[in-house]
Structures are given as structure tokens and as C-alpha cells.
Symmetry: C2
Subunit: 300 residues, 2 copies
């Protein structure tokens, strides 16, 4: 089955302690769609500006990503500039220019309304809700967000959480949203709002899945030694997670766990390159090698 | 085989967001010895003051811990006071009174010199080295430390690291010691100094073992929902780790991995009670239950 992803397509200027690159292709939609495309067909809904050229569309369509839902508007694309610390778990946002993204109103075509797997990447929860309202035969919906929306639109976000099957947050967001310092308890609090599953992304510490009947699955990250650029790790994780599920079709515990590991592994590749560079060039062989490594990492 | 532990026996005043207790029995030696005693015979070498009474000795000897190496001196025992934040991963030290610990000179008896398993709990690396010099037939030595020694006695600490088989550090200490933000790389840097194995304790995120030939083992923590008091978690981990190894005798990869999981599980009990309360009252049944749970947590 195929996946619909709604989020941002952007140009990012990224500075790490080792390198700086200007205006590389980025955005939550871009990373998650490329990751999901490793497993299944993907359609995206996003908005771009006039600086988004044919060559950029081609990057996506070469991965068989359906870009019919990408609206090209007058003005510039969403732009983000960030600088990573020596400890690349930390970064500062230098600049955010919403540009055409400021008036983004996702329009879901008749064809896209029929999709059964949906990833609501990080956008305004009001828009996430509109997308949910448009969908006709959802089988599984996954929702991401960010600290900004938890701060200024928590009420709207709670409404979205009530409607989706799974929420994916990083450890800071779980604590921020729930107000509970203990991550497991915090995730359980969020589950009480509605979503059957909560995924905690913990960066270098791996990922945890919390679900019904005490479901607790936790897996370390693949031990990446050479982190080049952490941008897009979380979105790659989410894209691979839902892409794998859509391929498998059955949403059972076993597949959810495997999807977490696939998400983990794909993200481990993403951070080994600048922007989408490494993610763009991996294949299922690469992925399966690391899946097996992770299996060994936790065997005792 | 039996284990020798050299470290501190102390009285702790602990304040958590939920409770405050004055002068409960604590110290690295106490926690690690009780944890190790779940698996094998334990002897400890430490110093206490006149406030350390028969009843306190009895707490240890009731666990069949050999306290013949505990010297009782004029003055007061080591005293520590700490206060945990609402997020109990964080704590402030309110007071540290070294008292009799200030002039601690571990004396290793002829009997203790024959021990094959040694845990050097967190004390001045100069003293750790003296202990190492005393030992006659070491099969496996484990060494802990703290941020203070990394700051003020790094050279001495490096000498100790050169001599031991395994170093156990928390994630902050790995970064502080190695100066490398990436934990895996940092641990590998530390291995280059000599120790065959480095264990990274990551609190709620579990523990990781780094060893020769790319050995990387990482396991999440047992999902404790009700953390009462985190004091002693790291020492319980180390004690259970070396206790298990001493019981198994063979230091192979399989046993090292299992020892990590046993350490993890014992520490998960420790934090569920105040001071040594919960740790003191668990048995192998309790432990094996959680070992099985963790096995399931990582199965995919």
C-alpha cells in the first residue's frame, strides 16, 4: 500500500563543526518521503516557491515519489538555517523564513484522499487536522510535531492526537508535552489522549515504542561513529517507519517493532551524509545489513 | 568465585521531590556489595567512623558480606547530602563531609589479595592504583570513577585505566574524559588507553558495552515507572555486573553481555526504593523476571 505525506519541502543552510552548505534540499516531507520510498509508493503534499526548479522535482520523482500534490507558488520556498554544536545533539536555529509556507493550505486531491497510510509531518496542528478530515479510508495515521506547536497550539495538537493511531516525538517533546520527567510515564500520559501508540525518538539512545497492554519495545541506535549531519534523522525515521508498515500492510505488534528498527537504521544512514546525500543512495541491502547488526547488538 | 570491592561506606541524607530521609546507609561499597552478594561471596574494604554501629555492620553481614576489611576509625563516617530535581536524572550535592574517608588508606589483607574479581568503586585513583598493586591473582578488574577525578587527577586515572580490564562510566563521564561528543567514539578512545572493555551507563537509556573486535552491545533500561530514589543505581549496576561474572567465572562475550543485563535489572530495582531498601529485599526470582522482560523488550 502507498503512503501520503504532508509536510514541508525546504531549502536548508546547514553548518556543522566540519562543513557548511548553503540551500540544500530539505524539509520534513523530503526526508520522510525519500525514506518511505525505500519501501513503497509515496505521494507528498507540500508547497514550494519559484526557487524550486525542475531539477529539484526530479530529485523526488527519480525516487518515484508522486509530487502531484506539491503546489508551486509565487515567492520563495521555506528556508531554514541551522548550526550544530561540537556535540551534534545540540543545534541552534539561525534563521527561519516561512515564505510560501506561511500560507500553506494542504489540498488533498480525490486520489490522495483514498490513501490508507498517512504521515502528518511537522506542520501546524490546525492543518494536520484539516488533512485528517479529508481522508476517507485511513488504516494507519502517524503524526509528528515540534516544541513550537506544543507551546503555542497545544489544544489543537491534542485534538490531532485524539484522531491519529500513532504519535512520534523526541524525548524532549515527550517531557514538554506531558510535563512528566519520566519518559515512559510521559508517553503513557500521551497515550491516554487517544493515540494507540507513542514512539519516543531518543537520537543516539535509540527509539522506544509504547502501546496498549503494556507494550514496551526499546532498541538502541545503530552505532554511527561518523555523524556528518543530523538534519532529517527524525523525519527519515518516521518515513521509513510508515513506509515499512505500508509495505507490510498488517499493523500488528511484530510489524510495528520491525518498523521501529527499520526507522532506526534508515536514520542511521541519513546522519552519515550531508542533507539527503547518504539517505538518497542507500538500498535494501544496506538496510538489511544494519538490521542484522542491531539484532546482534541486543542479543544476550 | 568471590569479589573484592574497595570504595566508600557512607551515610546519605537524600531529598527527592517526594521524600526526605536523613543519614541512611549508603556509599558505593554498600550498594555494589549488596548487589554483588545476590550472585556470589563479597568482601569489602572501606573505612567508617564511630557513628557506624553494630546494627550497620549487621545490615552487611546479614547478606554474608565479609566486612573484615572495614576499618572503624575515630570520627564520623563519610557523609553526603543530595537533592534530586523533579526530573530525577538531575541532582545537586548539598553537602559532602569526607570525615574519616579523608585519610582512607585501603589495606588489603593477605586473604583479600588472593581474590580474582575486583571492583574499584569510585575513590581517588591513587588509592585505586595502590589496591591494584596489592592484588596477586586478578582475573578481572572493574573500575569506576567520577567527574571530580577526571577533572583533578586525570593523569593518575589514566594509569589506573591502563591496568584494569574494564572501565564503567556514565555518559557524561565518557564525554568529559574523552572530550569526544559521540559516545561510541569516546568509549573507543578510552579503550585505546588500555581497558579491554568500556561500559557506558546511560541511566534511563540503558547501558552499552564496547569491546575488542568491534564489540558493541547495547540494552535499554527496564522501564521503571515509579522511580523513588536514583541513589546507588550505578553502584548496584557495577556490583551486579561483577558479581554475575564472578559467579560464572568465564569472562567471555556472552557472559559480559548477560552481566550488563543483570546490572541493568538490579539497578532498576534499586531506584524503586529509598536508599538500599528495595535492593536489599530482592531475590533471584525478581531478577530473572525482569531479565525475561528485557529480553522481550528488544525482540523483533
Amino acid at each position: 500500500m502507498s503512503v501520503l505525506i504532508v509536510g514541508s519541502v525546504a531549502f536548508d543552510t546547514i553548518e556543522t563543526p566540519f562543513e557548511r552548505r548553503e540551500r540544500v534540499l530539505g524539509g520534513s516531507c523530503t526526508y520522510s518521503a525519500i525514506a518511505a520510498s525505500l519501501f513503497t509508493d509515496v505521494s507528498i503534499v507540500a508547497v514550494v516557491g519559484e526557487d524550486f526548479k525542475e531539477e529539484h522535482f526530479k530529485i523526488l520523482t527519480d525516487k518515484k515519489i508522486d509530487t502531484s500534490g506539491v503546489k508551486r507558488e509565487k515567492g520563495k520556498s521555506f528556508f531554514w538555517e541551522g548550526r550544530y554544536h561540537m556535540d551534534m545533539n545540540l543545534r541552534d536555529t539561525i534563521k527561519t523564513e516561512l515564505n510560501v509556507f506561511e500560507n500553506f493550505e494542504p489540498v488533498i486531491s480525490d486520489e490522495h484522499r483514498e490513501k490508507e497510510f498517512l504521515f502528518l509531518a511537522n506542520i501546524d496542528p490546525v492543518l494536520q487536522m484539516k488533512v485528517l478530515d479529508s481522508m476517507k479510508r485511513l488504516k494507519f495515521s502517524l503524526c509528528d510535531t515540534m516544541n513550537l506547536w506544543i507551546e503555542i497550539k497545544k489544544k489543537e495538537l491534542i485534538q490531532v492526537f485524539k484522531r491519529v493511531d500513532c504519535v512520534v516525538l523526541n524525548d524532549f517533546e515527550v517531557r514538554q508535552f506531558s510535563g512528566v520527567p519520566n519518559l515512559i510515564l510521559g508517553a503513557r500520559e500521551i497515550r491516554k489522549l487517544g493515540p494507540k501508540y507513542v514512539i519516543i525518538k531518543k537520537g543516539e539512545h535509540g527509539a522506544t515504542l509504547i502501546g496498549p497492554e503494556g507494550l514496551y519495545f526499546s532498541i538502541p541506535s545503530y552505532p554511527v561513529e561518523n555523524v556528518i549531519d543530523p538534519t532529517g534523522a527524525g523525519d527519515s525515521f518516521a518515513g521509513a517507519f510508515i513506509g515499512f508498515l505500508a509495505k507490510e500492510k498488517n499493523i500488528d505488534e511484530r510489524n510495528l517493532k520491525k518498523a521501529i528498527v527499520y526507522g532506526n537504521v534508515v536514520a542511521s544512514y541519513t546522519v552519515e551524509g550531508f542533507g539527503i546525500d547518504r539517505l538518497y543512495n542507500i538500498n535494501m541491502n544496506d538496510i538489511n545489513n544494519r538490521i542484522n547488526s542491531i539484532k546482534k547488538c541486543v542479543e544476550f
